[in-house]
Symmetry: C2
Subunit: 189 residues, 2 copies
């Protein structure tokens, strides 16, 4: 597990290079202001195209497209017309996710309460050890749509693109609620 200083340094480096997702910077800043916890990793929600047998596989899996904002039909058509996948092509939309390292159980449950209220209902404590409490904040937002598999190809991609963009937008709304509740709780603390 990394320390707060290492994670803060990494965030500022990512910001400078332009790697940092602009939808998440203000939230990370608010999280770094907390005394008893800090963010270890995060994603504001994204749309990906994954070449894998199953979308949850990590081995023998390649992310061939990744975007933290709405996709256009042309982008997906371009991928479908490109060279055939090794395995299957999946169009995946996921909601925001945060990993938080907390020093105390009180802080872990406090963060979890804020996340739940913001609609991040799949949040929980992943591990408890001497080095800290590792918390995951997550929504149930997830669409995994088969794009190409064997002889199967989604022909009319208009609707699947619409759906993943809607899913992404729903995730960004929860993120906004999370930020509002987080800063409100810090003002009142």
């Amino acid at each position: 597990m990394k320390t707060r200083d290492e994670m803060l340094k990494k965030m500022l480096e990512d910001l400078e290079i332009g790697y940092l997702d602009p939808d998440i910077y203000h939230i990370l800043q608010a999280l770094f202001r907390r005394k008893e916890s800090f963010p270890a990793s995060s994603c504001s929600g994204r749309i990906t195209v994954v070449d894998a047998l199953m979308p949850w596989h990590r081995k023998a899996s390649t992310v061939i497209f990744k975007k933290h904002s709405a996709v256009e039909e042309g982008e997906i058509y371009f991928i479908l017309r490109s060279s055939p996948p090794i395995s299957r092509l999946w169009l995946v939309a996921t909601g925001p996710i945060f990993h938080i390292s907390a020093l105390t159980l009180r802080e872990a449950t406090s963060i979890l309460k804020i996340a739940r209220e913001a609609g991040m209902k799949h949040s929980g404590i992943l591990s408890i050890s001497k080095r800290g409490i590792f918390v995951e904040l997550k929504t149930g937002i997830r669409v995994t749509n088969l794009l190409k598999s064997g002889s199967f190809v989604v022909e009319d991609i208009h609707e699947v693109v619409r759906v993943v963009n809607e899913a992404l937008a729903e995730g960004k709304n929860r993120l906004a609620r999370f930020y509002a509740l987080l800063t409100a709780s810090q003002k009142s603390a």
Copy 2:
């Protein structure tokens, strides 16, 4: 939160009525043998067809088909030919899930360790209160495939049916590993 006796009674009632998923009974028995925890709810993994705007929505959402074993193309064709959905039709495959009520943090982390080893990597503690520690054991296995939405209909369902059946089978394999590790840990304890 329900008590152990209430949950045990409910399981035995479900077993008698024939409601209990046969793939899960032996695992629930093993879990009820533990002294410091008991299962509060469970699912061995399933394939559903859901009529909803988004597959994670609970309001304005209807499960119109549910099966804990492999589906056949004919079953899905039948649904597609039936009356049009209110919203969108999703073909969803999910891996096994357990909710465990633990009396001690030691027991919660011990169960989590077994689940992680069995490949249930999305497991965690959902809440900690005076009444107990609520643990969720879950895999990352999840396919949500759009079947019908507006003018969009999956025409060639052969491949999507194959994929959800594969996903279900992967979940049942993890379930078997979980049972093996669970009983091994109880023999050695």
